[in-house]
Symmetry: C2
Subunit: 205 residues, 2 copies
């Protein structure tokens, strides 16, 4: 036991919080002392929310997004365009695309990207299920919305090779200068790609 | 339910995390998804550490510091100088002073400072118990180690008035230029006080 901690229970709780990404021991201490000042029911509600999520959460059997039921609300929604599937890495990416309100198709959550450095191969991701999903028919277009990192590009290329002969249209989200950015401050790779991948100018886009 | 969240359970867990001070919804989401990727036992250990702390933590009946027993390890340690008591606001302050290894006396944790703005009066703090503790005899010196804020000063002065006639020596931690600071960047109040409260120069201090 660290001499500084007045209580083993306190030290243990701080230690648990400090395991979370981006939370150091000082922040952990602040959070634990905050919870300690609250009523019992507040801490119990907090713990219960985490345990219930962990024990009862489901993953949609179609798109593998987090869901409260067998099939998620997006996949179950008849108003969505089931012929277009957007391939993303994580649940957060689904939320990010949904927040734009610009996409009415379905998703496919890979659960990460191929990263040999982290020991993540194609078999660790929902790639096989994507191939099967496309093979089952009914999908006209697969949109890749992956990170513009080496791992994202590798993953995209790996899936591209698996799908290129299916006849399904494959596309990727536009990469270029972000809205509001000044050219002067854009990095060379992004600016270079945005010139190579230039689009018809309609006067407003 | 927020349209963006794919699961009510997820939204609830994120909402609970986002109630913690300094944790926004984006950070909360990141922490919850991190826990979701861990084994069940990791989340159960995390929740258990919090619940056990909340349900079983004790406060030392002498100094009111957090403790695993009736009397904390510091108060129970016969090697500590029981005639000197350092008055601090919080448990974290005890840990900060302990980390310096410069103090061998005991503590008295007030549990905060007098702050009419936050509805905290003297009765909400462990002030009465400090007066009683001093009144019981055996204490030669009370050292005030409170924040150099208006609330800290007010609290110190309030207790000072209660103790000034007891004959016990009252002192406060030195306030001045921090070790390693350049005068040029010190604020005027601190610099002014450090001149008024100048100390005998021994050539090394």
């Amino acid at each position: 036991m660290n001499e500084q901690y007045p209580s083993i229970l306190l030290e243990r709780a701080v230690g648990e919080f400090a395991k979370l990404p981006g939370i150091g021991r000082k922040t952990a201490m602040r959070l634990v002392l905050y919870l300690l000042r609250q009523e019992n029911v507040v801490v119990e509600t907090f713990a219960d929310a985490l345990l219930t999520l962990k024990h009862e959460v489901k993953y949609c059997r179609i798109c593998h997004n987090i869901s409260d039921s067998e099939v998620c609300r997006i996949c179950a929604n008849p108003q969505r365009d089931a012929s277009t599937v957007c391939v993303v890495e994580t649940i957060r990416d689904v939320m990010a695309v949904e927040a734009t309100q610009q996409f009415r198709g379905l998703y496919h959550v890979l659960g990460g990207v191929i990263s040999p450095m982290d020991g993540i191969g194609p078999g660790d991701l929902q790639i096989e299920s994507l191939i099967e999903r496309v093979g089952a028919g009914g999908i006209r277009e697969v949109i890749f919305a992956l990170s513009t990192t080496m791992e994202g590009d590798t993953t995209g290329f790996y899936i591209y090779r698996k799908l290129e002969k299916t006849g399904v249209k494959l596309s990727t989200i536009a990469r270029g200068i972000a809205v509001g950015d000044e050219l002067e401050y854009a990095d060379e790779v992004t600016l270079g790609r945005s010139i190579v991948n230039r689009m018809p100018f309609t006067g407003t886009n």
